[in-house]
């Protein structure tokens, strides 16, 4: 394992007013792996995503992507380097049809530079990507207004938007939340396929059981601090993690 990690987060910190949202968080992510980030509500998971993807500037610490320092870079510049993210709250471009939603990333400098970007017919490329993430081809769904799609499709559309960018690392902010069990089960193969294609994934999740089926390693956050890191089994047997989720035992 001589290859350097694709993502290296060192001592990342951010305060909002007096609230320490993320405090000295460090971890590494190897290429091709799936890393899970878990933690109770308000533990700073989404802030961490915002810090890495450039939407919020960190107070302290650094983020290295492919060995390059991307701390404080603008989100679109980070995206053009191949690091993109999904959003927890699904807000598609609701006035556009589903496949037109993908025209936006397909027009990014990153895709324009690539061989596929020079080929032309963006609409066809967009439809292909939607099929890949599970939209039925030739059905009317890809042509429907994105605002009228059910949540399951919106999550797929969001992943499609990321994939259109031909990314190397996708940060998924709670893709499973709000989905039914069967919808989640149908999303899991898609995520496995992303990994097969060589895309590294970082997944923020509340649905631990489903997450642990996918991840190689897990980082646990509480009150902005990293309290544990390891394989799913290691993490779940960790006493501090149990306390963070269930509270401490006291004699009454």
């Amino acid at each position: 394992m001589a290859e350097s990690p694709i993502l290296q987060v060192t001592q990342l910190s951010k305060t909002f007013g007096g609230v320490q949202a993320v405090m000295n968080v460090s971890f590494e992510l190897a290429r091709g792996q799936i890393l899970g980030i878990i933690g109770p509500n308000g533990s700073g998971k989404t802030t961490l995503v915002n810090l890495i993807s450039g939407f919020v500037k960190p107070d302290k610490g650094s983020v290295l992507f492919k060995g390059r320092n991307i701390t404080g870079l603008q989100p679109h510049k980070i995206a053009n380097l191949g690091l993109t993210r999904t959003f927890q709250v699904m807000r598609p471009y609701h006035s556009l049809s589903a496949f037109k939603n993908l025209i936006v990333p397909l027009n990014s400098p990153r895709v324009k530079r690539s061989a596929a970007g020079r080929l032309g017919d963006m609409d066809a490329v967009a439809i292909d990507i939607l099929e890949e993430v599970g939209f039925e081809r030739d059905a009317r769904v890809p042509y429907k207004a994105a605002g009228s799609l059910p949540l399951g499709y919106l999550k797929r559309l969001e992943l499609g938007r990321c994939m259109a960018l031909q990314p190397e690392l996708i940060i998924c902010d709670e893709v499973f939340s709000g989905l039914s069990m069967s919808e989640i089960t149908s999303l899991i193969p898609l995520i496995e396929r992303l990994r097969m294609e060589g895309i590294t994934l970082m997944m923020i999740e509340h649905r631990l059981r489903e997450l642990f089926r996918l991840t190689d390693r897990v980082v646990v956050l509480t009150f902005g601090q990293k309290i544990a890191e390891g394989t799913p089994d290691e993490v779940m047997s960790n006493q501090m993690v149990k306390e963070a989720y269930l509270g401490t035992e006291t004699k009454v």
Binding site: Q74, A79, F87, V104, R161
Partner: protein
Amino acid sequence: MKATRRKKRLDRSIKVRCEGLYALSSWSEMAYLLAPRLLLILGLLLIPFFVDLYWQRVLCSAGIYALLALSFDFLAGYVGLVCLGGALFIGTGGYFAGLLNHYSHLPLFVTIPIATVAGAAFSTLVLIPCLRLRGIYFAIISFMLPLFAVYIIIALNVFGGTEGISALDTFPSIHLELYLILAAVLLALFAIRRLVNEDMGIILRGVKDNDQAVRASGISITAYKIRAVFIAALVGCFGGAYLSHLYGWLGISLFAMDFSILPIAATVMGGMGSLVGPVLGAFILTPMSEALRGFGQLRVVLYCFILIAFMVYKPEGIMNYLERKYHQFEKWEEV
């Protein structure tokens, strides 16, 4: 008894999958699509033949308001920038054209294009620092910039100060005046309609719906907003340059609030986001405001009543309403 005929909506038979794509198989279907467009073009081009000189003049200023309404609707409906900078566009366009004509004695067919581009570049430049602002904040700043300009001109007593500069070149004939502005309105209308469905327009609509996702998609929203404001400013500044040559005069009233407010009224009346609607709204509101002149100050009250009535009873606007109804036309077809 089995029915052999049923009703079918006309638009359903020609729409293919999504908005803006049609499959036409007969002349009648083609006519169905073309009729409203031809009606608009011919209507605008033919009206001048049926009215006298006074109303022809009114049509000229209606054309200017139509351009402003178009640029307002483009920014508000497709980019999410509520820009009350109509007066800014008219003012900068007007001053650029007028000053070029006054000091360099360039003819108006040179000053108008230069003023359109230079004025748009200037307006965009002053709006760039505010592009980070959203919603009402951008609206307020864009509304204040023209006032700012007025006070600079008065305080420094430059560009003719409060008096303005008169005796600029005017158009040789009313027909040239009229058809220049009508052609500009039609050109701007169809160009912007085209633009919003091109890739660039798609990205701009993305910025309106969810700018965060656009940034996560590797696209600089500032760069696209600047382009959008420049396009809107081009349309507005042309109106300003044209106006200063229409009256042969430039002055601080080119920065008047009317140019920022009336386009919004026209857009509300015509239908937000339809682009055609605001143009239609301007061509209804401007002549109406002239016709109500007889009522003196009461005119404003009547005017407001009409606007309120529209907002309460037809908030979608004339155009969106007509479009919906037009798409509901049915024909009998054999089963």
